[in-house]
């Protein structure tokens, strides 16, 4: 892996230069929290953020987007709408980078999703190494997502007055060459990098009481576990856990005509398996009517089913669902409780 060094004071110039050719998304302050949004001024970017409210997937799968336009005047024609522009996502943390690997697979499988994939093709990822956990809810170390050696075009590691920059792709190399004058790393830089990384590891706690590789088989034995009823009693079915999740990708499709009834737009909007009506089908049957069944569905998606389908774990340990839940439903505690009860038997 090629390592370069970029002095920190050059980052604003880099971002400004990128903004001329790309839409640049980065972490910005939002009240006392942070959000990934398009940057209009490099000074808005807060690379010292801990975690964003929504994951940076918003740049690739917007909460709501147009997917097609219908013309109903004199016949019926459909025009797909693909809205993709050259984009750089700057400052993505590695948990979200791992989530992106899953989204890439999910949107490529079965019916490749042109809306996501076109955007993805035009998007460069500049990720960042976290040197400390976001807060007490992060469990990225348990999920193995606290660092990354691929999936990015460029990867930044804070060395104090400069960033160490790993180049992950040719596109990343080209971007660095065109927009930033990063210098090759010296032996001293590599020593500094090793110091930074070796002090990083102990700062991150393991929060799962077992190896995450056990999750799929553990859950396989827990379909009828009493914990689901407990979670169902507490769940508000507000959908916040899935809406903030970096690996959730479900959406609903909504058609809306204009008032002349000659044109219509097909929109899609994030949907959530936690909502009351998510599993209602045309016959009127709702096959996941109980909140307990919906929470179980979510936990199984995160810890088992997505892994079995795509080879990537559906949970990346970012902890967003835990922070967002007003009734303290906690995926780590849930997995640990199941593990504990299985091992008591």
């Amino acid at each position: 892996m090629r390592l370069r060094v970029l002095p920190k004071e050059r980052v604003p110039d880099l971002v400004r230069a990128l903004m001329a050719d790309y839409r640049v998304w980065g972490p910005k302050a939002k009240g006392p929290q942070f959000a990934f949004e398009p940057l209009y001024d490099p000074a808005e970017m807060r690379l010292d953020y801990n975690i964003s409210i929504l994951s940076p997937k918003v740049a690739l799968q917007p909460p709501q987007e147009r997917v097609a336009v219908f013309h109903l005047d004199g016949g019926f024609t459909v025009e797909p709408v693909i809205e993709a522009e050259p984009t750089v996502i700057f400052g993505m943390h590695t948990c979200d980078l791992h989530a992106l690997a899953l989204l890439d697979k999910a949107f490529s499988a079965d019916f490749p999703d042109a809306h996501y994939l076109e955007r993805r093709k035009k998007t460069l990822i500049v990720s960042m190494e976290c040197l400390q956990p976001c807060d007490e809810h992060s469990f990225c170390k348990s999920m193995g997502t606290w660092t990354a050696d691929s999936g990015y075009d460029l990867h930044l590691i804070d060395l104090g007055d400069a960033y160490g920059v790993y180049v992950g792709t040719e596109a990343g190399e080209a971007l660095l060459a065109k927009y930033a004058q990063a210098r090759p790393a010296t032996d001293a830089d590599v020593r500094r990098l090793n110091e930074v990384m070796s002090t990083k590891w102990p700062r991150f706690p393991h929060r799962l009481n077992f190896d995450a590789a056990e999750l799929p088989s553990l859950l396989a034995t827990a379909y009828d576990h009493p914990i689901w009823a407990e979670l169902g009693d507490r769940c508000l079915s507000c959908g916040s856990c899935t809406n903030v999740c970096p690996t959730c990708y479900c959406f609903n499709v909504i058609d809306s005509p204009d008032l002349s009834l000659k044109e219509a737009v097909r929109m899609r909007r994030w949907d959530s398996c936690q909502l009351d009506e998510f599993a209602r089908v045309a016959s009127g049957e709702n096959f996941r009517e109980a909140r307990a069944a919906r929470q179980r569905h979510r936990m199984f998606r995160k810890g088992k089913w997505l892994y079995e389908r795509f080879g990537e774990m559906g949970c990346v340990g970012c902890g967003r669902c835990i922070r967002a839940c007003l009734t303290h439903i906690n995926i780590v505690d849930t997995f640990n409780a199941i593990h504990a009860s299985q091992h008591r038997r």
Partner: protein, 255 residues
Amino acid sequence: MSKSPVAKPKVAFFDFASCEGCQLTVVDSLQTHLDLLDAVEIVNFREAATLDGWDFDIAFVEGSITRPKDEERLRRIREQAKVLVALGACADTGCVNALKNLQPPEEVRRYVYGEHADWYETYAARPLSAVVKVDAVVPGCPIDPDEFVEVVKALLVGKKPPIPDYPVCVECKLKGNVCIFHVGGICMGPVTRAGCGAICPTYGDGCEGCRGIIPHPNENAMEEVLDEAGLTLDDIMHYFTMFNAYREVGTGKWE
């Protein structure tokens, strides 16, 4: 897409106990959707025009029913209308009008009408659906102009209007907002019907539940959330009844 049941439907607006702010919002929606006037023919709209026709297909009715004699007029509207739409929270849920149902009738009458309390015939406030069949609703206090237009479009193509059955939290999260509870506020978003674009939390205020409570809310869990946020039982009751007293107590102390 199916053909409209009526090519250019005749539309009428009526009101009962309300501030008429929802009809005002209908007028306001013409600022961005002037084409509404091409899509329908308005035959009765006291708030906005000197029209008083009684030959209509769709009736938009604002306001709660608060007097026995309101029922007679509402039934006449119902008989005439192919589609009756409850316009706004007063018509949909009873809204703040139903707060009086929590208090003794004599006290309320005297407080409002003073020494002439006997002159006025009034009974417990109720939504339209307590009296007649309602085909569709436009929730909210006031209604959201864009949602009103979506309801009109759905009626034009003969579809069920797309009123969300999920809570405000969904729209709030999709907007990437900071959760009101995370900054020390109180919010009814987790149990309140979405469709407003989470407008209050987006501007920093907690949701007060004006669009009504979602179907199948987890009320116990919501009460625990409010309790944890520091509310007393009385406060919690106030949050659940400010806009949704009829849902909580029906006609309450009045019958």
